[in-house]
């Protein structure tokens, strides 16, 4: 939360700077001329992964990042007559998700049945489905490399208004409580479901960096890598003993007014 506040403060400062720079522009030109507006849309490819992978994860059988979408708008303020440097403030709506299947050993697990919980250590197969819908505010610095190419980098803040992280376990066994507890085997068609959705973090922040290439006068091709700096789960959530960071590549198009 402390970090989040800092980022918020930083973003407010940046916005203020953009404002001030705009209003104090000494050139005779129309100050609005230094603003650039863009609407964009694209797809998110990536996943939420612990870095590095913890020893509990023995093998990743399958990984599907799903087709996730984003739409948004960006406003950029260019500084100085050369328009070499600028700052951007964006707002985008995006979905992120992934489906994974992995082999784990001694993996923290909570199985839910009829509102009752059985926790322990799972060894076997875990299927996970992660999906989130977020509002993201990126605040980035922009550098124009040449007439067509812009490079941007900076932090982003996000708020998740819909979150899910659930799945099921099978072909393995649960040690109830800890590794010395009762051993319950799940084989054949026996499976148990879990749902960690309510333990997902609502606010996240991270860093993003990318390029924007002007294919035509108004059409931009964008590629951005967004790297979450806090785990997708709340700190108080201990069942999964390691932090998982959202790492997504966003590819898309923009229309520049």
């Amino acid at each position: 939360m402390k970090l989040f506040k800092r980022i918020l403060a930083l973003s407010l400062c940046l916005t203020a700077v953009i404002q001030v720079m705009g209003s104090n522009d000494s050139s005779k030109e129309d100050k609005w001329y230094h603003f650039e507006y863009e609407v964009n849309a694209g797809t998110n490819i990536g996943g939420a992964s612990p870095l590095p992978l913890p020893a509990e994860i023995r093998h990743i059988d399958s990984f599907n990042p799903n087709l996730d979408l984003q739409i948004g708008a960006t406003i950029t303020k260019w500084f100085g007559p050369t328009k070499k440097w600028g700052a951007s403030l964006g707002l985008r709506f995006e979905t992120k998700g992934m489906d994974t299947k992995a082999q784990v050993k001694d993996y923290g697990m909570e199985i839910w049945q009829d509102g009752e919980m059985l926790d322990g250590r799972w060894t076997g197969t875990v299927k996970t489905k992660y999906a989130t819908q977020q509002l993201v505010v990126p605040i980035t610095g922009v550098w124009r490399a040449n007439k067509r190419l812009k490079v941007n980098a900076g932090p982003y803040l996000s708020y998740a208004f819909k979150n899910s992280f659930d799945g099921y376990v099978y072909d393995g066994y649960l040690r109830v409580g800890d590794p010395t507890g009762e051993k319950i085997e799940f084989n054949g068609d026996s499976r148990a479901t879990y749902d960690f959705g309510s333990n997902l973090r609502k606010f996240q922040w991270g860093m993003q960096a990318g390029i924007s290439w002007a294919a035509y006068e108004h059409l931009m091709v964008n590629a951005n890598l967004a790297w979450g700096c806090n785990g997708i789960f709340e700190k108080s959530f201990k069942t999964i003993s390691f932090a998982m960071y959202p790492i997504y590549l966003n590819l898309g198009f923009g229309y520049k007014f």
Partner: protein, 392 residues
Amino acid sequence: MEKNKDMNFIKTTVILMIATLMVSCIKEEPLNSECDIITAQLPDIVLVDNTIISNNNVEFTVRYDQPWPEYAPVFTITEGATISPSNGTVRDFTQPQTYTVTSQDGKWHKTYTVRVKRQNAPEDPKDEFIYMHYNFEHVRTLTTVGRTYDVFYEIDNEGEEEWAWATANSAYALTLQGKEPQDFPTYQANEGIDGKCAVLVTRGTGSFGASVKKPMAAGNLFMGSFDPKNALQKPLEATHFGMLFNETPISFSGFYKYKSGEEYCEPDAAGKLQPIEGKRDMFNLYAVMFEPTEEMPWLDGSNVLSESNPNIICTAIIPDRHESEEWVEFSVPFEYRPGKNIDIKKLQEGLYRLAIVMSSSENGDYFCGAIGSTLQVDQLTLVCKHDKLENQ
């Protein structure tokens, strides 16, 4: 079209990159954290029953003519774990001994209580007939995952606790349906003929049971042991029927009350219970004597009443079971399977097993029955004939 192709190419590349990144950083396998006794042996000692290994207990039963009471058990444990005292240490088993297994990663340890029971030496009793009574007066409670349930035991002639009875209550605990002993399929109640009695009730297993296509749990009580590891996927095979038995059974008698649940159901292909119009549930209560073999060391739900099971010697089955709100007295003789009889020498050597088996839904093994069906049982008696020993 071109753009789509490009997008697909980029997407595939990114997936491959991420996958490679993830796979390339799979860490070395962590050391084992479990500390289980997997097998247990008493080298050079003749045992007369299957060694029981649970999560915290090991129990051997040695033949009456074997040395007593010092043994040097040998255990196999989870890979990399250590056991203390070490394998082969000679200890006095007059009292149960404890062993501590420490995991390979050193972070976990578990204490096992290891018992050695000795088979009673055969002796000639004064009377030709022996009456074995089971009155269900004694229970102890056990707790699994915060659920407490009853475990029945008997007191033998020497005043020692004899854990003859087993139930599937420990597996029912894992469905998280019951909290108190009375919520379980099998428990002790006060309404016995004289004192307490055993109550068996067919229960639903909730969403968890449904998810593993095992939508009901019939009340059950039997002589033998229950294998909780098998309970969820192979419940029929989890019930290990049979106790060491050294007498020739003549008849099986006792008292029961029975009431079928309201709605008889059978599971459909998806494992969901479907009501069957007009059908009532029926209980089961019988005794079976058999000769275990290496391939079939015990009987289980899949073969205990099978007509073609070659190990079965004789059975005592109540022919006219019916619903009743009053206690019904029954007494049935043991009937021998064609060509089968009891060999006195084998009887002396402890080569036969006997099981009394009861269930509140006779087809409960296959998840057919009525939830709520209730069987009460009290004052069971096995009348046995004591054949004169040879060699004495």
